[in-house]
Structures are given as C-alpha cells and as structure tokens.
Amino acid sequence: MSKENILNKIRRNKPSLKEILGINENNFCEKINLAEAFTKNSEAAGGKVIFASGMSEAVSIVKSLLKDFEHAISLADKFDFGTIALDEEISAKALEKLEAAVLTGQFGVAENGAVWITDYGLPHRIIPFITQHLYLILNEKEIVENMHEAYDRLSLNDFGYGVFISGPSKTADIEQSLVIGAQGPLSMTVILFRE
C-alpha cells in the first residue's frame, strides 16, 4: 500500500526522462606510479605500508609482527599461524579478545589507499573490525589507479558483504583533533609484496 502510494507520487512528480551519461574514464586517468601513490595515500589515511620482496619475506615479516600477540587470526594463504580456533559458529563475543588479524586483500586502490576485501572465506564478518590490529596482505600487481577501475574490477554479486578499508578506525569528533583508533582497529598495516 505505502509502496504503491510512494511509487505513484513519484510517477506524478518526477521530471521528464533524462538520458544517462556515460563515464569516460580517460578523463580521470593520471598514469601515476601505482604502488607509490597507494603507499602515500594509505599513510595519509593513517595506515602503514611494509614492502616485501616476495611471498616468503612477507610471511616472515608477518610472523615477526605477530609474535607478541596471544590472540591472532590468520586467514591469508600461507600465513597459517593463527592462535584462535575458527569455525563457522564463532560469535562476535568470542572474538572480543582478538589482537591481530591477517587477511588477504583482493586488490588495492592507488588514489586513496583502500583495499577491497569481502566475506568470502571470512568465518565472521566482524573480524576486520573487532581486531585491535589489522594486517592486509596485498600483491603489488593488484593495485588499480582509481575507484572507476576498482568498480570495473569487482562484481557486486560476488559477495554478501564487501568493504574498502583505507586505514585504521579514526575519529576527529573531539575538537577536530585526529585520534587513530576509534571503535574499530587501532592500527592497519598493508604488507605489499612483489611476486
């Protein structure tokens, strides 16, 4: 009933048809060094970027980063050194003590340092947020220049939940003073490896 009322009112009141414009992505293309821009913009968003010359170096970097944490989860391939047992039934509350989580980023975006991850293979959607420290493994080859390319690349039908993460949680709600570490992670680090 309300649905029909709203739709009918729209039909009565809407402007006449206006054709949609296409996007010419060339207008926005800057031909920048992708890894460099990604790093700069990730740092501007409060993130850290660590370079690894290859996968094995990435593994050892993450291992040393995690060694002080008692409660860690590692969901990235080849990074199987988590200390919390995960099953499909795990609850948000059980993850409260999580100190570190390592996930694979599907791709990164140079213009803003964002990394795309989805719920695919994620035992609980809260993991990237409830963890105190977040580590994202990203292949340097998987960086696109801007959000246009990013959305060309992903399909909105491939996931139940997906997110661009560009840094740690942060707030400036107290007199515009930036505080890193709001309701989500206190830090976010991207390990950028070269294959």
């Binding site: 400036a172 107290i174 515009q176």
Partner: protein, 454 residues
Amino acid sequence: MINHAEAAEKFNRDEEHVNWHDKSLWLVRQKRDAAAAHFKGWEELRNLASEIKTHTLSKLDQYLIEFEEQAIKNGAKVHWAENADEHNKIVFEILSKHGAEKIVKSKSMLTEECGLNHYLEGKGIEVVDTDLGERIVQLAKEPPSHIVMPAIHKKRKEIDELFHQHLKTELSGGDEVYLARAAREHLRQKFLNADAALTGANFAVAESGTIVVCTNEGNADMGVHSTKLHIASMGIEKIIPRKEHLAIFLRLLARSATGQSITSYTSHYRSPKPGGEFHIIIVDNGRTTQLGRTEFRNSLKCIRCGACMNTCPVYRRSGGHSYGSTIPGPIGSILSPGINLNDYNSLPFASSLCGSCSDVCPVKIDIHTELYKWRQVITKDLNKNKFKKIIMLDSGFIFSHPLLFKLSGRVVNSSLKIMPEFLKNNMIKAWTRKRELPRAPEYSFQQWYKKNRE
C-alpha cells in the same frame, strides 16, 4: 516555529566560542579545497554526479522497484514508509518480533528526521548512537549540529565533563586520546551486548540491491556484525543505478566532506549474515512532494557531505542548532521549508546568497538560487497574510529583490572569510555581532537600492 536570527544572536553571545567555531569549519573547508585542487577532472566529476542524479530522479520509480527486487533476491526484507510515523512503527515491529531491547545505531540523518530515538525510548528500548560525535550529543541531550561532524560545536572541556558524568572517566582537561579511548571501550561493550543494529545508507545501488555506508570509526560495521539483526533506513533519493556510479559519488563524498580521499571504511551490505536478518526501510517523508516542486527538486540530489555548511559564513557564525532543523545550513534551509513552510520560513533568509555553497556542492545543486526562490515564495505568502507571523528581519525583503540578489554575493563578495560588507548593518547583524568588519560601503549601497527600486 524557528527564528533563525534570534537563535543566531544567542549563539553569538559567546564571542570566543563563535570565533573558534567559525575557524574550525573554515579549516575543514580548506581541506576540501586542497583535495579538489589536486584532483584530475574534478569539475567533470561534479558534472557527471549531478547529471546522474538528474537521470536517477527521472526514473526513480523504476530504480526503486529494481532495487527492491534485487534486495529480496539477496535475502533482505524490504519495507516502505510514507512518513516518519510509519518508519518508526516498522522499526519497532521488527525489533519486537526479535525481542530486541538494546539497539546500536550508526549515523543516520533520516532516523534523526523521523525522531526514531525518542520514539523507541518511549517504548522502553535502549538506543545508543555509536558515532563518537553523535554519542557526545546524545549524552548531552542535544541534536547534532552538523551532518558530518555532529559535535562540532562542543569544546573538549564540555566533552570531558560529559564523559566524567556518564562514562565515569577522570577529568582529563579534555585529552582527546584519553576520551576517544574511553568512548571506544564503552561503545565496544555496547556493540557486543546489543540485540540489533540500525544504520542509514549513503547509497543504495539499484542493479544489485546493495546498501553502501561510509564511516571512519568503523562503528557501522561493529554494530552490524555484532548482532543478528540489521535494519537500514534510506530515503528514496539514496538510489543510484549501477556500481560504476558508486565510483563517482565515493570519489566526491569524502573529499567534499573533510578533504579525505575516502573514509576508512566503505561498507557494502548485500545479503544478511549467515543466520541473520537484513531489513531495508525505504522512506518518503516528504521527498516525493519535494520532487514535484520543479524549482526545488534538485535539493534531492544532496549526498550529505556537509561542504555547504562548512563554507557558509552564516552557518559558521550561527551554529547548526540555530536552524532548528535536522539538516542545518544552506541545504537544510531548502529542505526544511519543503517539509514545513510555516515552521521554517526564516531559514531561506539565513544566507548572504554569496553562492559559495553552490560552488562547493559536489552534485552541483544551485543552492543559493533555490534559497532565493524560497524567499520569493515566502514573501508572496506573507503578502497574502498566509503566515500568522513571519520571522524575518526587515531587510529580509532586500533579498527578495531580483536586482539585489544579483548584486549581493557574487559581485560584492570578494572574500568569503568575511561577510559581504553591506550585510553588516542589515539582517546579519546578529551573526556578526562584535565582529570587526572592514569599513563598509553600506550607505552607498542603500542609496543605490533606494534609487533602483523606484
């Protein structure tokens, strides 16, 4: 009935505070400028954004239907609400069905507009706003004063005292890290013990039934993923056709809002979590009426970035609360009279018509022109004695005069940081109280006006 000038006058009694407020917002505006300046194709992108919104409004019914179909396919439940009342009732029904008593809410101007917190609290439900700024004003029992920075009017000392009182923190002199950490602990407990999460929507993509929400604090996700039940409320105008349009609006949104290239989190909610429920409420509440007003329908393109507030010399010096409406500032002064012209007829006069709002607006809404058009409507109604009482200073009429409109902002205004000089002795007296302005040619202007009116 809101008297903006009177409320602004009150705000201006604390000169130091007003100067600080003005400066804080001006800094945000400068960050936006820096972000836009370094961006290839900024104007092209604004054009695209504006045109895509026009297109979307022209097929809004079809896109809403497409969105609903897709969302249902994804496993979400879709509801439609014609007004605030219906929206609130739907929320309560869903919550009751789940026996939910504790709710965490991330920022949603729509639920503010609907008075949802008040309604739910009346039914014995605990509602916790989880954006830090919103939590601050919630504890202070105030409405947000800005749509992006809800507590922009609050000094750190006040927040210190609020937290001391409500969260049992030590008085810290307003140490932002200490206070933010205390809020973090407090809110993380609220998330984990909540029964349901409410969010708004920045965008709703028709082709895939996806809701997109942007936060820096991670509070929307902490809430949504902590609970089994997610309710997202969206105005009908949040629809965009396809995923490639997300790229356009996301590139513009954070840059226009705070100068960031993107928020920390841009979350895409498509289907419910395993074992959970995802409800989407599509709300009209006056939007279809605004759509029918050819002169004001562009206001429905707004993506709520707040840039027009940050840049507005009147907003900066009168504070968000002086507008008495959910959305303050220039865009609020177009939207609110559309909802209730009698209550909000003073708002279109709370502007110098300098046009800076239109210049920064990422979707190119002709904000200052629409404000001027509202003035004409209101002045006409006033002549017909339609309003029992109109709240407007005498010189409000100046701004209903076409020639003066042209003369005011765009021509006279050379520096936005200070107000157009001739306004000093006119209606903006209240906003500029005690403020030193350069000696102004107001006398000659008035002479000009007298002569030209004849």
